[in-house]
Amino acid sequence: MKVLQQAWAYLTDGSHWSGTEGMGALLGQQLLITVTALALALLVGLPVALWLGHLGRGGFAAINISNIGRAIPTFALLALLVTADWPGTAEFGPYGRAGLATLLALTAFALPPIITNAYVAVDEVADDVKESARGMGMTAFQLFRRVELPLALPLVASGIRVALVQVWATATIAALVAGPGLGRVITDGFANTDYGKGIAGAMVVAAVALVLELVAAAVQAAVSQQPDTRGRLATGHRR
């Protein structure tokens, strides 16, 4: 495959990685935007979802409202945001052209898995466990903090992990509004019939997605090991 050879040649040429428009800088930019969008989504989505899960109410509404972020194509939302007066296409600090619009669009995209998982995780903590906790005299906050949250953590983490990888790969659409990130390598490559370059960009995005997935999986495995609660609950509470 000639194209793959061209892609390899593109990847192994150091000059393509250096400089302000090189892949190194673009990769950093895309990581920054991914992490920021994820952090924003966590800030907005996690407290609401966890609390509603604790109450066991309002989850249907929260999940469906957040699912709008999935139903509207992220590119459509981005296109809409850049045409509006605010946030528009203005440079936004290290996020580059249309940075704010890109962040908002990606945040909306990150919300559904975070909210859905967090709500379900807390809501599905077994009733008898909660009852026992209350029987021991725990307050609502203690119940949430010491019982529900630890039990919910693995599922919450898996939602965040899904969101992280999705946002990373989707962040390439910023290139369609001349925004930040590695999408530029892909669009430039295909626009100039330099397919090797386009494929090279896609390969870097895919490789980083795998790395992020592995790192996130390791983190998830770490937080899922909660010997004090899980160990005890594992016996005698089979349903």
């Binding site: 296409t89 509004v177 430039d188 019939t193």
Partner: protein, 316 residues
């Protein structure tokens, strides 16, 4: 199980697509209503590109040739590669509405590889002369090129033009300019490369926002960029508050409209030349821009716009 289900879905979708494609073929190969075909001169196939300007011109061809007695079938496609493929033009397709520079450079790239230097120039006659051997080898005859020409063009906002006294691209020489253009603009002699090297404009940044796109206009009108890329036949420039700068140093290859006809078909049907040459003589760049706006802005149908023009020009 999973795989089988996928396969079944794929097959079903494929079958649907096939059905749709066949239906489309039937529609396309149906001769037009046939209300007025006085003398049957035989069948004639037109192909061409399907974007609005090419579609308007192709519909003019279709109506004129139908009126002169041909049984015309027309299929418009996305890119030149499709109708220039083996078995299409000039063997399966007889007539294609073309652009001088675009066609010659395409044939050149096809014959000598995509890395080859373009042989087109700003002059239509010179470009045709340079490409004559390629045309002969392929069996294509070009009729008379029109004065109507569609090439890349560059616009600035009216305020920026007034503030800096701009009318030609050469007025921008030495200035720092941000350019909003198609993503393939970088380095091209008819785009960023030519603006830099021939005009001496200092392009500080190239925003790949698209050819004549909403985003390109927005960027120029907002003042984020100063120069935007569009085409000479863009009928919306003035209404959007922008103005075209003249290509006074001629970096654009000749984009004159020209009918490309299969040499063999033309030998058997020489009257096609008179019909289409009359149309080429009637078209101008300004007229084409006006017609384009009717389709791209007012959402009129290409065939209606084509018909209205032919009536107005007295060609039918």
């Amino acid at each position: 199980m999973q795989f089988r289900r996928l396969l079944a879905t794929g097959l079903a979708a494929g079958a649907l697509l096939l059905t749709a494609a066949c239906a489309g073929d039937d529609l396309n190969s149906n001769p037009s209503d046939g209300s007025s075909s006085p003398t049957a001169k035989g069948s004639l196939t037109i192909s061409g590109q399907d974007w609005y300007e090419a579609a308007i011109v192709a519909n003019m061809y279709k109506e004129l040739l139908t009126a002169s007695g041909y049984d015309v079938s027309m299929t418009l496609v996305g890119t030149r590669d499709i109708y220039m493929a083996k078995g299409q033009f000039p063997s399966g397709v007889d007539v294609v509405p073309e652009y001088v520079g675009g066609l010659i450079d395409f044939l050149n790239a096809q014959a000598n590889g995509s890395e080859v230097e373009p042989i087109s120039s700003a002059d239509a006659a010179a470009t045709i002369a340079a490409g004559q051997s390629l045309l002969d080898a392929k069996g294509i005859t070009l009729l008379d090129p029109s004065t109507a020409t569609d090439t890349n063009a560059f616009f600035v906002s009216k305020e920026y033009a007034a503030a800096n006294g701009l009318a030609n691209l050469s007025d921008l020489a030495g200035k720092d300019v941000v350019l909003a253009a198609a993503p393939d603009c970088k380095g091209r002699s008819d785009c960023e490369g030519g603006l830099k090297d021939t005009y001496g404009i200092n392009i500080t940044k190239l925003l790949p926002l698209g050819f004549a796109s909403e985003q390109t206009y927005q960027s120029v009108l907002d003042g984020e960029s100063q120069l935007g890329e569009t085409q000479t036949t863009d009928g919306t420039v003035d209404a959007q508050g922008a103005v075209l700068l003249a290509d006074d140093k001629g970096i654009q290859p000749a984009g004159n409209l020209v009918p490309a006809v299969s040499t063999e078909f033309l030998a058997a049907h020489p009257d096609v030349a008179d019909t289409l040459n009359a149309l080429m003589a009637a078209l101008t760049t300004e007229k084409l821009a006006e017609l384009n706006a009717k389709v791209s802005v007012d959402r009129a149908k290409p065939e209606d716009v084509a018909h209205a023009f032919l009536v107005e020009a007295g060609l039918v």
